[in-house]
């Protein structure tokens, strides 16, 4: 009798809660290959701090070892500059995580320098100043916010400037920098539980598609062939097993592949 009552109560609770859980008229199952489904084209790439937030719940990590003071050399290739911009912003997030004051200040200055050839310096200047000032005051929350704003401001401005082709490259650089740091940390201190953070094959597929849809002129040269090949490789490496984990071997390969590509982008 008690069981019947409990079941009835549960059903009653579910009847009340159901509209909250599975809200109004939404199908319980979608066929994601249905050609009639409309997907929003815009990609939002997770920032490194969003991923680190999950990782740090498994225990604090030493992020300072992930800060690599690479020299940024500019050339006339704006596609490369766009990727560098994304990379430098992602480095800024890592420096925030490590609470590296000088590292963040340097990033603030680099962000402004990279903004000039991308024709977005007017919009970026106030953000860059806020990043440098925030680091000076060790206001890490303000710096994080400014870095995220910088990235979004640049993307919006590029769209206004009809430089939409560069947006995908900024996103790609940002994702690549975060993934390089994440995979390096996971490689040094591997656990199956934490490795699931690299389970991102659909995201890589999306980045790859966005990259391959860029006009040829925006991805000409050896560096961009390497980008294309690395994304293809990463897509296969980031497929997890049924438990969501990525094997240690794959983590090591992801770390190596992302590091090589980041070095190639910086190297010009």
């Amino acid at each position: 009798m008690k069981i019947v009552y409990a079941t009835t109560s549960l059903l009653a609770v579910f009847a009340v809660a159901a509209p909250q859980i599975f809200s109004q008229d939404a199908p319980a199952k979608l066929n994601l290959n249905d050609p009639n489904l409309v997907f929003v084209e815009e990609s939002v790439i997770p920032i490194p701090l969003e991923i680190f937030s999950s990782l740090d719940k498994l225990g604090a990590r030493d992020w300072s070892g992930q800060i690599v003071n690479r020299e940024v050399s500019l050339d006339t290739n704006r596609s490369r500059t766009a990727m560098l911009f994304g990379l430098v912003v992602s480095e800024g997030f890592i420096a925030v995580q490590a609470e590296d004051k000088e590292g963040v200040r340097r990033i603030g200055r680099e962000v402004l320098r990279l903004a000039q050839p991308l024709n977005v310096s007017d919009k970026v200047e106030s953000h860059a100043n806020a990043i440098v000032n925030g680091a000076g005051q060790e206001d890490w929350e303000a710096v994080r916010k400014e870095l995220d704003r910088t990235r979004q401001t640049v993307i919006n401005q590029m769209k206004e400037n009809r430089d939409g082709d560069l947006v995908a490259l900024v996103s790609l650089g940002g994702w690549l920098g975060g993934t390089e740091a994440l995979s390096a940390v996971l490689k040094d201190d591997y656990s199956p539980e934490a490795s699931d953070l690299l389970n991102q094959p659909e995201l890589v597929k999306r980045l790859k598609t966005d990259f391959n849809e860029l006009p040829r002129r925006a991805r000409r040269g050896n560096l961009f062939n390497q980008v294309s090949n690395t994304l293809k490789h990463l897509e296969s490496l980031m497929k997890s097993g049924s438990d969501g984990a990525i094997s240690k071997g794959n983590v090591i390969e992801i770390s190596l592949a992302t590091k090589n590509l980041v070095n190639a982008i910086y190297g010009g």
Binding site: Q20, I21, F22, S23, Q24, D25, A26, P27, A28, K29, L30, N31, L32, L37, V38, F39, V40, E41, E42, S43, V44, I45, P46, I47, L49, E50, I51, S53, S54, K57, L58, R144, K145, D148, R149, R151, Q152, N156, K159, E160, N161, R162, D196, L197, N199, Q200, E202, L203, R206, S240, G244
Partner: protein, 171 residues
């Protein structure tokens, strides 16, 4: 014989109408006409206003000990009554996520749901902001890291198409 011609003409007319309708639908997201920078900026401002509605609704969740961290990135666009769109998003296990889906008109009727990479609807707490029907929220804690799909919809009872914005935060 004449009847057969009438049927063929009818079928041709139907297929032409169908193609035209399809083109119109595609034009909404993939137009060949390149808007001027002024038009782009104007449209951006209109959409930013909708984002501000979502941002205001999110304020209370962004303070306190258990606050969410708001991402500056967002999605936006326009949606017709009875229509739905899917947003692909990468989420990470152990994080909690909160999404805000907003439209400008206070009587807009919005629905927000989340699906996994297999297309299965996920359990998530959805709610409206106070008595407003132009902002809905969804809270979700993924059990697996991976790709998810937010389904945004404007109910058929909504009177007209709405600009929309979706923002999100994590903790």
């Amino acid at each position: 014989m004449e009847g057969k011609h009438v049927i063929i003409a009818f079928v041709l007319a139907l297929s032409f109408w169908g193609s035209a309708a399809l083109c119109a639908q595609e034009k909404e997201t993939d137009t060949n006409e390149v808007p001027s920078p002024v038009e782009v900026a104007k449209r951006q401002r209109e959409l930013d206003e909708v984002k501000q509605i979502a941002n205001r609704a999110a304020l209370s969740a962004l303070t306190g000990d258990e606050k969410f961290i708001l991402r500056e990135s967002y999605w936006n666009g326009n949606l017709a009554p009875g229509k739905a769109k899917l947003i692909q998003v990468q989420l990470f296990r152990r994080n909690e996520y909160k999404f805000w889906f907003a439209a400008p008109e206070r009587d807009a009727k919005l629905a927000l749901n989340i699906y996994d990479s297999e297309g299965q609807i996920m359990e998530a707490a959805t709610s409206q902001i106070e008595d407003k029907t132009n902002v809905v929220t969804l809270e979700f804690e993924p059990e697996l890291t991976g790709t998810y799909y937010l389904r945004i919809a404007l109910k058929t009872t909504s009177e007209r198409p709405q600009d929309w914005a979706v923002i999100y935060a994590y903790r």
